[in-house]
Symmetry: C2
Subunit: 551 residues, 2 copies
């Protein structure tokens, strides 16, 4: 998405042209006039070390917010990996800021030549068991989905609502369908007859599959499967065979991806990995380039005459090292020069940091839990998993070194922290905290001492959002002043500071591989079994609040 800027008048690009549709490669010279491919001419054989030209990659489902970067900064990393399109669901910032969050993302993205395709979040808030910063109902959805800059209805995660024919949910879906815009799904584990009904409601994708059988059932129902490989959920290896079987029904996505991971690789890394696992490169390119363009009806950029002049050059189809990225006729990256800043980001995005942060500092008294007897429900967290188990322990066992306090505190208004107990993080001292806590992004903290938890929470409040670690009363915070989710800093800077916090958390004794990611899901009351929100402890299986102490 970009404003009109002066484009070079006419350019020629020569190479081995990769025609995914016909599965052929031919030597050609491409004429680009403005932002369009105006001619493709076969040439005499080029040297074998000439570049291979192919359509750029599409990330078919991503919450840019999880990168902690602005869209403009995200693009600066993506183009190095040959990614030129991102199908974006601004679900996180919208749960904090409502439509103002969507508009911030779109406005920032407008200053980058990278192609962002935003959808309208369908689940704001995600549930009634927590306090979000905004709400969008079916009536507003009907208005908003008509906007030209919102291309689909995003991630309908309320699948019970679909199956039980909830009028709000069905109203949102109907609005999207009437506007002629696709509806994205999210239905982990839904199978058989229920899945058929979910698909029949008009939901055409799912990126939550984790087994080949789930994926095959979705494809049989006419849905497309978006194979996800993010920083938290990683389904690529398990779903690899599906890409080989049905490349026209499969896309690739990262969903949630941290800056350090993004710097290492993006969709390009998945194409390579597929080939490692025996999937044909044509099938991988179909899923990485063609299927998402067609499914989301993106402006055609498939290296045909008349297409947008958006493509990449690679050294060869095995190593897939990106040598050039071209978007809308502009070279935005070359291996030699790196990102070409004035081409990729011709505008000057605002440095404004919209936020929604009302919480007031807390004291140790706010965290006190005067328990005397009974059995206490403890959240048991597991490394690399989003689900938890509930374990009931006698009060006297809470002083065990394997149990810490967890706290969630409404950041949008008045209220008091909700306090529970958690096992699995193994903090021996200090505390960790963040304002990234799916999906309402209240303040979450886990700590070995009340004083460190208080210092942590108050430091996050002072920064108006962030991620942090506190040890012996001293807090270190990576500030995320945009909605408490994102920073104006570059990927490298965020990765550096985030990496430092990760190391500090491990110095506290934390044994989780990704402590902040796992913590961020402890407040999400839609994944079983025991979670905690700003409103209280939630028994997810009953979809209701529960008492901390069993009487």
């Amino acid at each position: 998405m970009t404003d009109s800027h002066t484009l070079p008048p006419r350019q020629l690009f020569a190479g081995h042209l990769v025609d995914i549709e016909h599965r052929r490669i031919f030597d050609a010279e491409i004429t680009v006039s403005g932002d369009t491919i105006t001619d493709i001419r076969p040439t005499d054989p080029l040297p074998h070390d000439a570049p291979y030209l192919l359509p750029g990659f599409t990330d078919a489902h991503i919450h840019i917010e999880s990168s902690m970067m602005t869209p403009c900064n995200f693009a600066r990393v993506a183009v190095r990996h040959g990614v030129v399109n991102a199908v974006c669901d601004p679900h996180e910032i919208t749960n904090v800021l409502g439509v103002k969050g969507i508009d911030f993302m779109i406005d920032n993205a407008r200053h980058s030549r990278f192609n962002f395709y935003f959808g309208l979040p369908s689940c704001v808030p995600s549930s009634s068991l927590e306090t979000a910063g905004a709400a969008i109902d079916a009536a507003q959805t009907r208005e908003l989905i008509r906007r030209d800059d919102l291309h689909f209805l995003a991630e309908m995660m309320n699948y019970p609502g679909v199956l039980f024919n909830d009028s709000e949910v069905m109203g949102k879906i109907a609005a999207a369908r009437e506007a002629g815009k696709p509806v994205d799904g999210h239905a982990p584990g839904v199978m058989g007859e229920e899945l058929q009904r979910y698909a029949a409601a008009g939901i055409s994708t799912d990126h939550e599959c984790s087994t080949p059988e789930e994926a095959r059932q979705r494809i049989a129902c006419g849905m497309k499967v978006i194979v996800r490989e993010g920083s938290a959920a990683r389904n690529f290896d398990a779903l690899c065979p599906i890409i080989g079987e049905s490349p026209h029904e499969v896309m690739l996505c990262s969903d949630d991806k941290h800056p350090d991971d993004l710097l290492r690789g993006h969709i390009d890394a998945l194409v390579r990995r597929g080939v490692e696992r025996g999937i044909g490169v044509w099938e991988m390119l179909q899923a990485a380039c063609t299927t998402p363009q067609q499914h989301y009806r993106l402006p055609s950029s498939l290296l045909r005459k008349g297409d947008r002049a958006t493509f990449i050059a690679v050294d060869n189809l095995r190593d897939l090292n990106i040598t050039t990225t071209v978007i809308d006729g502009c070279v935005v990256y070359t291996r030699e020069q790196g990102v070409i800043e004035q081409a990729l980001t011709p505008g000057t995005p605002s440095t404004e940091c919209p936020n929604h942060f009302e919480a007031r500092p807390i004291t140790e008294a706010d965290l006190s839990t005067p328990l005397t007897d009974g059995r206490v429900k403890v959240i048991v967290a597991f490394d690399g998993e989003l689900y938890t188990r509930c374990e009931e322990l006698p009060v006297e066992r809470l002083t065990s070194p394997e149990i810490q306090k967890i706290m969630v505190y409404n950041r949008y208004g008045n209220g008091r922290p909700q306090v529970g107990f958690i096992k699995g993080f193994h903090l021996s001292h200090g505390a960790i905290g963040a304002t990234i806590a799916h999906d309402s992004h209240n303040i979450v903290a886990i700590g070995a001492s009340d004083s460190d938890m208080v210092a942590m929470v108050n430091a996050l409040i002072a920064a108006r959002g962030g991620v942090g670690v506190t040890s012996e009363g001293r807090a270190e915070v990576l500030p995320l002043p945009i909605a408490g989710l994102m920073s104006q800093e570059s990927a490298e800077e965020i990765a550096r500071r985030y990496g430092r916090l990760d190391a500090l958390a491990k110095q506290l004794g934390c044994t989780m591989q990704s402590p902040f990611i796992t913590m961020a899901f402890m407040a999400l009351p839609v994944i079983p079994e025991l979670k905690i929100t700003d409103k209280g402890l939630v028994d997810v299986l009953k979809f209701d609040f529960t008492e901390l102490v069993s009487r």
Copy 2:
């Protein structure tokens, strides 16, 4: 090929099994009893970093002699690259030693567990325009082709003989067909109706194609195409698309490959390169593993129950790093341990060096060319090409620094060196020489001074064969005491010494990229235009001798 040795009783190998026939990969445990796969059992999912098990690679056409190594030493390099079978034509040594040369190769190969499949050379000698060390006629062919250790009739390069129905040529082909053994071809540039007649004669392969059109015509005639990538002729890049189109009709070979090249990569490198160029990995594996086993009816080693336990393990199908090579149930190579010598070479091959070398030392008088007037025919050689052009120059121009003397000297008996002039090597001083000179392997030398040429030739005679460089009267020779073609040394040692000679030749001013390879073809009178043999200067287009001086 191997004598019976004690085999381990029963072994299990687990990995992602690559089933090329059905284009699927499944996790399995392979039971090997003795040299046979006795069971294949699907397992629970293995970790993604488990090895991929696939059939080993086959080099479908090679003259081992060009590696300058014995078969046993060749195998020590091949197995590192996952090559387990080689379809061998002992054409070079047979032109020197006759059947004794074939027997030497087979006897040496018998001491290695590597699978060598030898054919009977069809063209000994290659032509009547030079003196070879031996001759095998149709009657002898009829006897020899019945031998159990000769599996096919090799490389029928006398394609004019086939097209003109030469009785000797047709007799050899008929003998092979009656013995039920395939006949390999060699028909560069033969097209259309002539090609149909060549194929109809019963010739079923060609490894001399250099264009896709040649390859497609051969496949249309029912022949198989062996895509060649050797040290001299390199056709892989041009023929790549054919592998994608017709993997069941295509095999891969190296034909002639030097030790330094072999150390860098073999058939494994071609599979990688194919994937780089957009050919599917399944098509590459079909050509590298399956098609040659089927065409040459090799003992089946395709990872099926009942097959020979000959297979390889690789890290993944993109990087294709060979982690283990198993031949007939024995682990002969692992990435950690390298070649497992007692498993790969259980026998002790003879250190005998059979040879055929009668030439006596020469003097400067033997090279004198008392030319006074007229125009002299000069051989014009080109870097990387086997053909030459003829240029006629006035006698006085022969002293130009761009022209050197070339000499070919019969090594099999009495005779005198034949002397000509050559352009393209640019030696400013010294001489280079070798007893590798296709196809009769007489002594060839090129020099800037007669004294250096004499020193070169006499040093090669003293060594009873080799490759060498002489500068200021001092000769350095890599001795090749086996038939003047091969050494008992290892690949590394030959590569080191050959590399040194190559550098020395360049210090003499030689501008050819591979001086010895190009020189070796200056004596081959079947590739146009002007060549020189031990019998004299040859006008290849007239297939007859010609005078040095035009009168």
